[in-house]
């Protein structure tokens, strides 16, 4: 019997506010010396009171709106009670019955990863987006656990999807898309390797065509996009084998072991799921004014889908080029600055070719982010203009680009200094052409006997004699003229 996976995801996103969720300690936790960003509030000392960070609320509402959610006007924070040493208060301040945002969706494209046109678009419904605080970091050594509370109290946004995901590929597309959106909004680095984005998967199998849900298995410890895909693929296979052998799937929590490529059952914390939520008495209710929500809505930046559609419509780009350019907002901005500088003088497609071609090649080779690229958009445009206007030819343009990449200097200077200007002056080139004809009697004879293709060899000789600087079109034209006239 064929089975179909039913997958829901919980994604935790660390918000990149300057300070923590309920106190003024720096929210910078990754790579900081232990217990340097802590205070009586985030250490859970008696008598302290939390105060909500407004920016964290704004960031969560921005994310909810970008995910097409309804923003709740009346909000209540809740205590989630459990004893664990990463939680100094004995409870986590979270949200329970009244999350900030509910009932949205995220559209994902499921193609083969290299679509030339629109892949198959799917909607994954978002159940809720709520705000809570992160926990401290535990390190286990020699029968002890060490606790660093720098991360305790960092604003943490939880995004919960409905069980609408049907494959490992879709799950991968979903988390990649979420990261793209939080980065566009500027609310988080979305960096999974640094723990700024963490995923948990709920997965069950059911016979294809059934509406029932099978036994749900939770998979944790997914620290990269690759592990999201691999762990789900593995778990689908494991459960399929069990079901096909007529064995039951048990409801457990699994941890993904990336090195071994397997999921392993985690020992469960006894009675851990009795959290006894109740409204947080230390925080008064949060009532968001409709006008405030509207203002946040109005401040949202253009999101990837809208930007892609606009690039296609305004600049005549292909779906593929537009997708590649909007992947990263900073790249899209770079491209658009270049297009704006170019005005009507250069076709935006040509600019796109240089950005996705030469520029991306160098960026990939050297693992350079667009923000560290030394070439200014206006200099890239100047270079394209020099090629288009015939000042330099393609090989010279690539050489110039290389120097620009290394130094960030403007192309005009580099072309001048290296003498890369194309010889487009007929008078200057005529002598070289005459010399090439005189030096190559055999090919010239073959051309005259009707071997048309030999002209390419002669053009090559002109290029060689000018160390690559001759305008090839002009060289061909002059060759033909001189060959005809001395017949």
């Amino acid at each position: 019997m064929p089975y179909e996976p039913v997958i829901g995801m919980e994604v935790h996103v660390e918000l990149n506010t300057a300070s923590k969720m309920f106190c003024g300690c720096s929210a910078e936790a990754f790579g900081t010396p232990p217990n340097t960003h802590v205070c009586p509030v985030c250490l859970g000392m008696p008598g302290t009171l939390p105060v909500i960070n407004e920016q964290a609320v704004r960031y969560t509402v921005m994310t909810g709106l970008a995910l097409n959610c309804t923003v709740q006007e009346h909000n209540v924070f809740a205590r989630k009670n459990y004893f664990y040493p990463d939680l100094p208060k004995g409870y986590q301040i979270s949200q329970y019955e009244l999350p900030l945002c509910q009932d949205g969706y995220l559209t994902i494209d499921v193609g083969d990863g290299h679509p030339t046109e629109a892949g198959q678009a799917r909607r994954v419904r978002i159940r809720r987006v709520h705000l809570e605080e992160d926990t401290g970091k535990l390190t286990h050594v020699d029968g002890y656990s060490l606790i660093d509370f720098n991360r305790a109290g960092v604003p943490l946004m939880e995004i919960v999807s409905e069980a609408d995901i049907r494959s490992a590929e879709e799950a991968y597309a979903y988390v990649t898309r979420l990261r793209q959106i939080v980065r566009y909004l500027g609310v988080s680095s979305g960096d999974m390797e640094k723990g700024a984005m963490r995923c948990e998967v709920n997965l069950s199998l059911r016979p294809v065509g059934s509406d029932e849900f099978g036994t749900k298995v939770e998979v944790k410890n997914l620290n990269s996009f690759r592990s999201v895909r691999n762990a789900i693929a593995y778990e689908i296979e494991r459960q399929t084998r069990l079901l096909e052998a007529g064995k039951p799937v048990t409801q457990v929590t699994m941890g993904w072991d990336e090195a071994a490529g397997v999921t392993r059952e985690q020992r469960s914390k006894e009675e851990a799921h009795d959290y006894r939520y109740f409204p947080e008495p230390d925080l008064p209710p949060l009532n968001l004014e409709p006008a405030w929500i509207e203002a946040v809505k109005g401040s949202l930046p253009e999101l990837p889908d809208a930007k892609r559609d606009r690039f296609m419509a305004n600049y005549g780009l292909s779906r593929y080029d537009a997708d590649v350019l909007v992947e990263d907002r900073a790249v899209a901005d770079y491209f658009e600055r270049a297009v704006r500088v170019a005005g009507d003088t250069i076709n935006p497609k040509l600019v796109a070719n240089w950005v996705t071609g030469e520029l991306f090649r160098r960026m990939n080779e050297t693992a350079t982010a667009i923000t560290s690229v030394k070439i200014k958009p206006e200099d890239l445009v100047a270079l394209i203009r020099m090629v288009k206007g015939g000042t330099i030819n393609q090989p010279a343009a690539k050489e110039t680009f290389g120097v620009m990449w290394e130094t960030g200097r403007p192309p005009q200077e580099i072309v001048e200094e290296r003498g890369l200007k194309q010889i487009s002056d007929a008078g200057e080139l005529a002598g070289v052409v005459a010399q090439v004809i005189a030096d190559n009697p055999d090919p010239v004879a073959q051309f005259k006997a009707g071997k048309e293709t030999i002209i390419r060899f002669l053009i090559g000789q002109v290029m060689k004699a000018t160390r690559g600087k001759a305008n090839p079109q002009l060289a061909e034209q002059l060759l033909r003229e001189q060959l005809q006239s001395n017949e």
Binding site: T17, A18, S19, C23, G24, C25, S26, P33, P34, N35, T36, H37, V38, C39, P40, L43, V51, I52, N53, E54, Q55, A56, V57, V76, N81, Y82, F83, Y84, P85, L138, T139, H140, G143, Y144, S145, L146, I147, D148, F149, G255, Q266, R267, K269, E270, E271, D274, R276, P279, P281, L283, P284, P285, L286, N287
Partner: protein
């Protein structure tokens, strides 16, 4: 309102990480049941038309701007810790 069962008291004690003697369990069974009985009295009030509230204070929307303020020096933060190591709190091993 019937009294809490002994199992319920034991469950609550476990969640609160409290080890109770047999006598204490009985004492808390009485006391916790009495609290529930009192809540039962409140339940008799007619609250039709009264919107639910989660706070008795005349406050809402208390927020602060996203600004960093100084943290504690690490030695102060760790001053009350039962045990420390490498500027961190040290506790008995925790299972994942």
């Amino acid at each position: 309102m019937p009294k809490l069962t002994l199992e319920e008291v034991e469950h609550i004690a476990t969640l609160a990480r409290l080890g109770l003697s047999g006598d204490e369990k009985e004492t808390f069974r009485e006391q916790l049941s009495a609290i529930l009985d009192y809540a039962e009295v409140l339940n008799r009030l007619d609250t039709t038309g009264v919107p639910p509230t989660t706070s008795a204070l005349p406050l809402n929307n208390v927020m602060r701007p996203d600004q960093v303020t100084p943290s504690l020096p690490t030695e102060d933060a760790l001053a009350n810790a039962p045990d420390t190591d490498a500027d961190q709190f040290r506790v008995r091993a925790i299972l994942e």
